[in-house]
Amino acid sequence: MWDGAIGGGNSPLRMTRNTQGSPYAPHTDAETAAMLDAVGVDSEAALFDIPDGVAFDGAFDIPAQNEGAVRRDVGRTLDRTDDLTEFLGRGHYAHYVPSLVDDIARRQEFLTSYTQYQPEVAQGFLQALFEYQSTLVELTGLDVANCSMYDAASALGEAATLSQRVRSVSGDRVLVPENLREGKRATLEQYARGPDLTVDTYPTAEGTADVAALRERLDGDVAMVYAETPTVCGAIEENLDAIGDAAADHDALYVLGSDPVALALLERPADVGADVVVGEAGVLGVGATYGMGLGLFVTREEYLRQVPGRLVGVAEDATDRRAYTLTLQTREQHIRKERATSNICTNQAWLALRAAVHAALLGPDGLVDLAEECVRLPRDLAARLTEISGIQAPVNDRHHFREFLAHTDQPAAAVASDLEAEGYAVHVVDEHHIQVCVTDANAHAVDGFVAAMAEVA
């Protein structure tokens, strides 16, 4: 074994590294000894001030392994997941992610850096986040986008608590569509528990809001009306204006759920009276990650002081050049403690970088093209599926984005299970409904999927 007789910096007697410890602790035995000596103790154990009563002298029974072995073992475990072609959406979407996104995002300067508490050495990340915020401002037409929330569900939760804080009179109910995804609703209810908000629903028709029924549910106690476009079943909401009017009539905040691909094509939230836009920005730059999200949060300037999470703003440096910094931090937990707008600290910044790179690569043409493809692909697929005996699609008489509901004459669970055997995954929504999602990421598999459906339907 190499004894380090040559080189070795300041340690001419450098010894081989201790293979018994952490592979990421660089200490040689000689260095450890010198450091212990400098501190004035004779062992590392002597540095721990832990009373005997709570000291741990057992073992976790976790064996150490070399890197190759861990990659093989964990890889083998991961590969126990079935290789299915997914036609799945309902809030988590995959689009093709260009290779440059990974390449940029893996640069250690981005990947390993911390929240930008020292902006002078973090201009790169700050500018990328500022550009991310700017892209969302353009897409929504609203004024202020934050750097990220955890996901669409937590962004909705934060919007609900914001709606209560900014209200001049008390309001303790929030209204959401009855077909809201269960995970989103359950997360919203978690956020609603502390401030004693009640989550109520309003009916939907053909997959979108039933505006007349919504109006009946509205009263002076409603702090927030939430609507989505596209909705959970892929239907494009046709009454965004009317929903906004209904909310405004009762002084309720109008919170709209969407995503940056849909927003490249659909009505601009600012034009339909939205006060807050939330949703899933991970549709750009992230791909399928078993549900990891990138919560987008954009609102009007009047609510700026109530925005949760980090904000990047323009600043000037000592040379009067334009620079960037985290700003308005007096809203945040590390300054304001229990009076903060939220407890959020670590967020999804690296995914915001990824989304920003992806958006920059697409540009406005690419974004609009992608969004139009998200209308055409499900339209074409539904037309093909509905020709199969035993399938009617789409169920809702609406334009769709990425996905749609299909009626199955056979029990939906049986159809989905048979499809699984053929190598395809779809959602089972209820007894006779499946949901099918198609984007640029799985469009290549449509022919095979249609053939499989013809077999099993």
């Binding site: 001030d49 990659r71 590969d79 201009q123 955890y150 997360t187 494009i236 549900g291 590390h334 959020i344």
Partner: protein, 520 residues
Amino acid sequence: MSDDPTDGGPEGDDEPTGDDRTGTDHAHPPREYSTYDQARWSQDGVYEPLLSEKDSTTVAIGGDGDRDDTDDGETDSPLPDNLTRDSLELPGLAEPTVARHYVRLSEMNYGVESGPFPLGSCTMKYNPKFTEDLARRPSAAVHPDRSARTVQGVLGVMHGLQDYLARIGGMDAVTLQPPAGAAGEFTGIQIARAYHEANGEERTEVVVPESAHGTNFATAAMVGFDVVELPSADDGRVDLDALRAAVGPDTAALMLTNPNTLGLFERDIEEIAEIVHDAGGLLYYDGANLNALLGRARPGDMGFDVMHYNVHKTFATPHGGGGPGAGPVGVTDELAPFLPTPHVRKASDREGGDFELAEPEDTIGKVHGFQGNWPVCLKAYAYIARLGDPGLRDASAKAVLNANYLASQIDYEVPYGPFHHEFVASAGDADAADVAKRMLDYGVHPPTTKWPETVDEALMTEPTEVESKDSLDDLAAAFDAVAGEDEATVAAAPKRTAARRIDQVAAARSPRLSWHDLDR
């Protein structure tokens, strides 16, 4: 002030030229410090121009949107005009231009592989590369709505991590759903609330030591509790008399970080647990400082009922400029029924695979739309599997050794001890924020500053186990070089970074938060 951003570079008049302390009476042999010139792209009064300054393209959107017409031309929108926006204006740039833009930005950003990054309470470790490769494996990139039977690989790793974390923390059950440390706190305190409610008790207060992380206070408030702030004793630890006075029938929980933010182990932890439990409250462990205790002490053994782990700190997943992290929550058996849904467990019936998703009996519901930050959890699992028992135990040993060694090498007062993985030095008469800015010129990231407030002009320093003796000596030299400099030099720093000292106060006074606001 000079308008030249290269001022302070090699020609600058206050250029550090090496150690100037030779012959003075220092405790440590003088060492030449490093210097650092960060890349600085600059053009027309800005550093790297914004994407929007490189191009702005407006795309008009329109079409007949006939729903039955599947043969729309490329120029036509497939939607009717009343459902679409009129236009979209964004930068439209070719891939090489985009690549160059972001590479330049990356050059103006400091990461863990750039140099020492001893931010206290943040545990900025080296992030092993192989975990990134595992996270990009195609079999890990799946949709969360797949049937459990078809994602056994994902569930297997999740179950494995739950198990590892339970062993490391001395807990009985673990959920991976919370996507960050603060989300873990939120989950844990919601569990405490649900537990008391299930017992028919309405407890309204959460006790938090004054030196705790800001998230603790904010979390307790978000869950609907009143926050009772606990003053520290003179030794920097929990004041038992103050704790006795603070707890009572309204106490839902005490949130505690151990070692605390001064790096001190709460020696009276057993008595603290007894006081809280006797009052009917729960003990919550903030896992931010768990790196100090790996293999040495476990929250479960100390009497904690519920805890969160910061896998982006303790288990080396990258911080990503502010996330994503993950904040798994561990609980005792008594609290396990309240965990978020769904929970990964071994399957009762193997036909559907070895692992299944189940709803805990008294679940608090969900804290994330799906199941949290899966790729981050995967990286943490791989890290723990790589280190095993000896590596984890060595991580805490070297983290604590590094903090103690570094503290012994700097000419700053460290008022509280014995500390573990981090120490809080005082900048004394100097402004800690200024000291930090000047340290940037010496090629190191500075400590966390001005917090906790129990130490005047605090420099909260956590080198972690990944720094070598050499790099700690560099870091010490940077600390001491700043200590020897005059106030004006320090106040004018940094000079060698991409941007010079940034006026954050002015930025907050007139917020410009998108490129649309540039002309404001």
